[in-house]
Symmetry: C2
Subunit: 187 residues, 2 copies
């Protein structure tokens, strides 16, 4: 793997573990096994490297989610698959957690990939809910955008509950609770 690749991958790991404010160039370099010069040769500085890392993490998360949501099954089953997908709840969401980083929120360039990813995710789920309404799986009165927001929020909030408790249990409970409310009556 090239030095620049190692820098990006190390940054992704550290951003996930410690966030933007908690991640220092020094820590990145140590993990990547590179010197100062390499980083400032390939990137303009910490924000530039972080942007590359965040973009990649966001793209990866979107691809994973899309694959599950576009899998086989009815709309309800596909949303269930998304919510039940294996997650390391205690690690939190590598994208969502960045929203609690003041320096990320303050920088439009850093926030953009986060915003776009969560937005696309909501829109995609909203469309699946609309499909479900057409097929009679969901009540016609439901608003796809609202249900999608609740689905994504449950996942993001599930991470908060799990990390607070130091146990993934609460994440799973939240998912089960939402799925119980969303379940078609004829099941």
């Amino acid at each position: 793997m090239s030095t620049s690749e190692r820098l990006i991958e190390s940054t992704r790991e550290l951003l996930w573990e410690r966030g933007y404010v908690g991640t220092s160039p020094k820590a990145i370099l140590e993990r990547a096994g590179a010197g100062q010069g390499s980083m400032y040769h390939h990137f303009r500085g910490k924000p530039d490297l972080a942007l590359a890392a965040i973009r990649r993490t966001a793209d990866e998360m979107w691809a994973t989610a899309e694959a599950v949501l576009d899998g086989p099954g009815t709309p309800y089953e596909r949303i269930t698959a998304y919510l039940r997908r294996e997650r390391e709840a205690l690690r939190g969401c590598p994208v969502g957690r960045l929203t609690m980083d003041p320096d990320v929120i303050a920088d439009d360039a850093l926030r953009a990939p986060v915003d776009e990813t969560l937005d696309r995710l909501r829109e995609h789920i909203a469309q699946i809910v609309e499909e479900g309404k057409e097929q009679g799986e969901f009540a016609p009165g439901l608003d796809g955008e609202e249900i999608a927001a609740a689905v994504v929020a449950t996942v993001q909030g599930g991470y908060v509950l799990a990390r607070a408790a130091g146990s993934p249990t609460a994440f799973d409970a939240a998912v089960r609770g939402l799925l119980a409310l969303l379940a078609p009556p004829t099941r």
Copy 2:
């Protein structure tokens, strides 16, 4: 207000705005209008002061939530009141955001107030859901603990969506989505 009070209040504000890692003793002292000596006289250091601040914020949040949840109305109405309560979605949850702070999660003493507050909140809502089941407002098949987890997760995740988008809209959408799913059929 005493110096020690001003230190705690300044710390609460900064923890909310910038998190634990992003908050320096220097910034606290500047906001409180105090010198180094005052802080190290009243507190052993940053973690000790942060603990006092976190405890107070957690207690306050619990008191506010309890007041709304124990207000008038049916169980569904009380949960609705909790979810619809005025929130500054873009600021995030002063308690929940701490779960994304690596140094808070790594320190059991700092994490404890966060854990206890979210846990108590879930238990209280779970009990309200059970009441709603007894009164026939909620379907008997629902699990109170799971619904409560979904409710709290929706709020916490709503903050994530709002901060990502730079707008409170997504928070409100998630809340409306969950309430639509939770609504008693006979409304």
